[in-house]
Homo-oligomer: 353 residues x 2
DNA sequence: CCTTTCTTCGTGCACGTGAACGTTTATTAC
DNA sequence: GTAATAAACGTTCACGTGCACGAAGAAAGG
């Protein structure tokens, strides 16, 4: 750590102990050719023994190589500007580490369009990339992509939603199951026993987004765990425009007496809009994310609660974790669940995304 | 920014343009002696023109100097472990920047003892310190200290509470006035018009801690702004032990019919303890901070709301701001108010301090 | 045995800055 | 005017690492 240990550390010391030159040690460290297996083993043993950490200052000085991170997340869409926030956090972290020679390349895909996800992936030149930060919105395609990353030994960090069973460096985002669970908990307080509850999934790609599915699972399991008898209805709405959404909701509300609505993503404002216009705003409405539209309906009383999970921090911390690993070889926690913030009209003015 | 600009930047280029040697430029940059005023002016002009930013890698490589930051905050006390959290954030940031040669020196004082604050200050050897992160709990003493820092041109960052009118680099903490204001807002929802409200300040050094005073001010002003008629009582309790606190509260409660209690700091658990024991827990109780004790009373229903303001993040961001300034000469926002989180028994399990 | 080729390794320069040391020029003292 | 001193500036090495170049030795082929 301290500068005085210089005689006991560094490539020079390793070389001295191994009775080889600095160049040879360097070759071992960088897995370059031209070293006998015997020497490799000796050097590696000493590296391990000394717990050698390369001096990143000297390294960056000597090498003109820039470290490049690819960022693969949704862009802002017409229906929601949610993804502005993670991007802000990412940009902030990017600015912080840019003095250390890190460059970001951003690839923004359309959350409504699986094809654009693949297109953006195709644009990433993996041979020039030392790490990837991604939101794995489409399960299968993401899995395929991260397998490619793994085979190339490129570290990657998930944000916003996780894919289990893969060797990601870490995950920063909600505990999806628990956010659904908490939403149910909140709802229980405000509906009476036996009243009907409606779950609304709005997404062109519902089946591919386990994001929504996990939340629904958590929500339902709360009612099961607590042995509550409220009937739970559900609709999947695969078009995101207002006309289609409102019609779908209307359909259900005509046939059922729904006391509370749970929208599994930030599209809750679309539902709020309909409920308000149709004069049915007295129903309890819970949804996700502190977007501009949602905020307006929260303030007007049409949305009762918004669940929010620090989108900006997800981006910031996700990128930082990647940086800490790639540059400093520091491994942090694998799962980093964001707090589940409950936003109401009372505290919304003080919330920071 | 990029490595290719190397010919156009750096000390070498400055020297070339000024027709002097690198050594002379170096002397100007570091305000060392041995350069004529004329040369100094020329070099400085060029530095400004080129917007020269020293290469921190080369700098740290060449210089064995360690950067030292002093951290001056309260230690954990018997009554509250609140200060664990800022310290955690500080330690986390410290670990992150330690590869860049930053060392922390921690000076923990007793929040209940003004003398210990002065003692810790006396321990700080300012000639070895390049920056200070502090919680200015005692107004006058803090002012005196930061004046000394200013005269030595040592940058400093406030956390937790701010002192106006000083040249701090920045502030990370609550907008005290607004947190009082929001508390009042919450309280309004749950008391009826005309019911009596009690403000409780618990601290050995109330008069010195504008922390408490500003919160009270915000709280009172809400009721004034909204033209509410609830009588507002107040007690200052200058001993922090349970016996004394409970007696003080009991005193008031016997003489008044109090519907709601607002405790201006984390000592709210002491009040909760009394209310619970005395069987008077049906009163609304609002206080501050996500401490272990408070959490227990929140879950048991004896505390209704906790206002919390990211103590850990205050520490983390405060130290980072200091680092960004000292090492990268980056100036961020001066006032960084933390979000005002409302913790209830519903979301407390998901909160991150 | 000599030449060629390949494997294995050592040496030296470069990165941009800090700082000690050396050199030149200007100033002062006698 | 000369020596002594001070002021102003130039030169050089060091920091730890990456990388190009080339050397030494072993292996292979004739």
């Amino acid at each position: 750590m301290s500068a005085k240990d210089s005689e006991l550390t560094g490539v020079k010391e390793i070389a001295r102990r191994a009775n080889v030159s600095r160049g040879t040690v360097d070759r071992v460290i960088h897995n370059r050719t031209g070293v006998s297996q015997k020497t490799i083993d000796i050097v590696n043993a000493i590296i391990k023994e000394l717990d050698y950490q390369p001096n990143i200052f000297a390294r960056s000085l000597a090498s003109k190589k820039q470290v490049v991170f690819a960022v693969l997340i949704p862009g802002v869409s017409l229906e929601t500007n949610y993804w502005e926030e993670p991007l802000l956090g990412i940009t902030e972290a990017g600015a912080e580490i840019s003095p250390y020679g890190i460059t970001l390349k951003k690839y923004l895909y359309d959350l409504n369009d699986k094809k654009s996800f693949l297109e953006q992936i195709a644009l990433i030149d993996l041979s020039t990339v030392q790490g990837v930060l991604l939101a794995p919105s489409f399960i299968e395609e993401s899995e395929h992509f991260v397998k490619k990353l793994e085979s190339r030994k490129i570290p990657y960090v998930f944000i916003n939603s996780d894919i289990q069973g893969h060797d990601s460096l870490s995950y920063f985002g909600p505990d999806l199951y628990k956010s659904g669970y908490l939403s149910a908990h909140l709802m229980k307080y405000l509906v009476k026993e036996g009243e009907e509850i409606l779950i609304v999934n709005i997404s062109k790609e519902i089946d591919n987004q386990h994001h929504l599915l996990r939340k629904e699972e958590g929500f339902r399991n709360y009612f099961i765990d607590k042995k509550l008898t409220n009937p739970i209805l559900k609709i999947d709405i695969k078009q995101t425009d207002y006309a289609y959404v409102s019609k779908s909701i209307e359909d259900v509300l005509q046939r059922h007496h729904v006391a509370a609505v749970f929208v599994t993503n930030s599209r809750v404002s679309t539902v709020a809009k309909y409920l308000k216009r149709s004069g049915a705003a007295n129903r309890l409405l819970i949804g996700f994310d502190y977007t501009k539209e949602n905020l307006a309906y929260l303030k007007s009383g049409d949305i009762d609660f918004l669940i929010c999970q620090k989108p900006r921090e997800q981006g910031y911390k996700g990128l930082m974790a990647l940086y800490q690993f790639v540059v400093h070889a520091k491994v942090g926690e694998k799962n980093n669940f964001m707090p589940i913030d409950i936003i109401t009209s009372e505290n919304c003015d003080f919330y920071i995304n």
